[in-house]
């Protein structure tokens, strides 16, 4: 009954014991990134560059949480695809809406 995406026993996390120490490192990385993000907010000059850094670090943190805390790193391709599809759809919403907002005033002045 299992389908090709879900039948590889090595992909189930109960078969790949992950030691708690791994999670300690993950947490440490997350805290460091958070503090780095706060630090950059004061170090970098106000502007687009900082915005990119702030969101970029947030994306990195979110990826770490999703990959390790949420076990996507040890999951099947279907799960990765599902997460990818969700974020992709959100990006479609943002990018396609922004085509309107960025160009709405073009040619009007």
């Amino acid at each position: 009954m299992t389908t090709p995406e879900g039948n590889n026993p090595t992909l189930h996390n109960e078969h790949t014991p992950i030691k708690p120490i791994t999670y300690v490192f993950v947490l440490a990385a997350l805290v460091v990134l958070t503090l780095l993000n706060v630090g950059l907010a004061f170090l970098l000059p106000v502007g687009l560059i900082h915005g990119i850094f702030a969101v970029g670090i947030a994306v990195l943190e979110a990826m770490i949480v999703i990959l390790f805390f949420m076990h996507i790193y040890w999951s099947s391709r279907l799960m990765m695809l599902t997460v990818g599809a969700g974020f992709f759809t959100f990006l479609v919403l943002v990018v396609m809406t922004m085509t309107d907002y960025t160009s709405r005033a073009w040619g009007l002045w």
């Binding site: 009954m1 299992t2 389908t3 995406e5 879900g6 279907l78 599809a85 969700g86 759809t89 479609v92 919403l93 396609m96 809406t97 085509t99 309107d100 907002y101 960025t102 160009s103 709405r104 005033a105 073009w106 040619g107």
Partner: protein
């Protein structure tokens, strides 16, 4: 019907009887239905409830057409008319079209076609129905309290600042019904991924499943955006958060972006499952494997994906960026490609097929013709220049009714007739149902074709009065609506009649190939005594012809 013109293969009536054990027997009483986790029973619950709401929505349509019989505003006042078309839209879209094929036929058929015992989450499936009913109750409450008059689109700032009707009540109804649809979609996706029987590879699945899979993706990823948008509208109305309020710097167009980000894909949520039904009927009644199976399968997914990239074509005249509109107009053309792939492949399937004209096939032909007109006029409207002229006129009303009513409703009726023997174990009366199919088609053309002309001549939508020169076409349209109403009433009457008096259908009256046809009608509660093994391609009529004995798999 004589055997020369039909493939119908029903058992000799003198000896035929319904199976003793089926999902309809065993447990009786209201409680056994209201607490059921059986996908087949839930499908029937949906059938009853959406039929109820369909006739409520239809009553509003009838009143609208009655008002438009004369140019003068003589039947209802303008604000009542606004409420009529709003309630017609809300009820038909959220309570009929979105759940129609997926929730009724999809629920009933998905596990049967996959060779599974149930959907992956039977309890969530039941919850979906209760949420649907919750949404329905709020919508009815809106109606009883005095209705809402914003149009089903809830356009801001009209809905947030300028009307004093029950926007929030209707919004809550849509919010709840939306989550019902999210959970249905979630259930379908998981079931198709995880519950396929041995041998049922992706490319052996009936195309109905591909279509429902694609629609489910849209349900899961699109509907929540509508949900949050409704929450923001409600917050705007109650505490004035200002997100859509231009006086506080908000952008009313942002509402439309978010609303149409769901509501355009919602159009595909409505039409894709209908296309799935047509793939089944066209194949069965022309005795041929669907031409270009893979192309049809992927075109469903392509429609779903492209569906997220085109929403702004609903907003071309609303003040969006011209450059952005240009991009969206071009992307809109893309959707025509997979839709055309489907139409061409169905036509190619019919070519040199042994076509018979049973009722589901008549409805399917209706679908193909009307959907093609509806789809092509959609291309007109997607073109930036034409849209400016035609949008917000009756042309657009005619366009989406050709797609939704001519397309989806025809497909729904095709599906209901096609699987009625499987659902109930009994045949519907063939002659009267053919009459109903033809009546529906004629009534439909008469109702909505004049609206294309009206729109092209410039009659705006959503007005209850119009210049006298439009009256002839409006009278035609109203007359057509009467015929259409009869066409919809007939199936309800004779299908109910057939529950008791219809001929016993037998397992496979259409000689169709799907797994659902290889088991008894109506099916057992557990669907299959033994999980089947799919050892042939979809639509393999040779396999069916050589299949003399039912599949027997050993029990260990």
């Amino acid at each position: 019907m004589s055997s020369a013109t039909t493939i119908v293969n029903i058992p000799e009536q003198s000896t035929a009887s319904l199976p003793k054990n089926s999902y309809l027997t065993g447990e009786y009483g209201l409680k056994s239905w209201l607490l059921t986790q059986d996908h087949k029973r839930i499908g029937l619950l949906y059938l009853i409830s959406i039929t109820f709401f369909f006739f409520i929505g239809g009553a509003f349509a009838g009143l609208i057409r009655l008002e438009l019989l004369t140019p003068m505003p003589d039947l209802v006042a303008s604000d009542t008319y606004n409420k009529l078309f709003t309630m017609h839209g809300i009820v038909m879209i959220f309570l009929f079209l979105v759940p129609s094929v997926p929730a009724v036929l999809g629920n009933f058929l998905l596990p049967l076609m996959l060779g599974a015992r149930d959907l992956a989450f039977p309890k969530i499936n039941l919850l979906s129905w209760y949420m649907y009913m919750g949404g329905g109750i709020f919508t009815l409450a809106t109606l009883v309290l005095g209705g809402v008059d914003t149009g089903w689109t809830f356009t801001t700032p009209l809905s947030t600042h300028y009307v004093n009707t029950h926007v929030i009540t209707a919004g809550v109804g849509i919010f709840i019904a939306g989550f019902s649809s999210i959970f249905t979609g979630l259930n379908f996706i998981v079931t198709i991924h995880r519950m396929r029987c041995p041998g049922m590879t992706w490319f052996r699945m009936p195309l109905f499943l591909w279509a429902n899979y694609a629609a489910s993706i849209l349900m899961v990823l699109g509907t929540p955006v509508l949900a949050i948008t409704i929450v923001l509208v409600a917050l705007e109305r109650t505490i004035g958060i200002g997100v859509f309020d231009p006086s506080k710097g908000g952008d009313p167009l942002l509402f439309q972006h978010l609303f149409w980000f769901y509501s355009h894909p919602a159009v595909y949520i409505m039409i894709l499952p209908g296309m799935g039904v047509i793939s089944e009927t066209i194949s069965t009644f022309s005795r041929k494997r669907i031409f270009g199976y893979t192309a049809v399968a992927f075109s469903s997914v392509a429609i779903a994906v492209f569906g997220f990239f085109v929403w702004e074509h609903h907003m071309f005249i609303m003040g969006v960026s011209t450059y952005s509109a240009l991009v969206f107009s071009l992307l809109t053309m893309l959707v025509a490609v997979p839709s055309a792939i489907k139409i061409f492949n169905w036509a190619a399937t019919l070519y040199k097929g042994s076509i018979t004209f049973e009722t589901p096939m008549l409805y399917s032909f209706g679908f193909i013709g009307l959907f093609t007109i509806g789809g092509l006029t959609g291309v007109f409207l997607g073109s930036l220049g034409m849209d400016v002229h035609l949008t917000e006129t009756y042309f657009i009303v005619a366009h989406f009714h050709f797609v939704m009513v001519g397309g989806m409703l025809m497909a729904f009726l095709a599906g209901i007739h096609f699987w009625w023997p499987k659902m109930t174990g009994r045949m519907y009366p063939e002659q009267v149902s053919k009459l109903a199919a033809v009546t529906t088609f004629i009534g439909f053309i008469l109702t909505f074709f004049p609206q294309f002309l009206l729109g092209y001549l410039g009659m705006p939508r959503r007005y209850h009065a119009y210049p006298p020169e439009f009256q002839v076409l409006n009278v035609l349209s109203t007359a057509g609506a009467t015929v259409l109403g009869v066409g919809y009433l007939l199936p309800m009457l004779y299908l109910t009649w057939s529950l008791r008096y219809g001929a016993i259908a037998g397992d496979n009256p259409w000689q169709a190939t799907g797994l659902e046809w290889q088991i008894q009608s109506p099916p057992l509660k557990e669907n299959f005594t033994e999980i089947p093994i799919m050892d042939h391609e979809a639509y393999d009529y040779d396999w069916l012809a050589h299949k003399h004995v039912p599949e027997v798999t050993t029990v260990g």
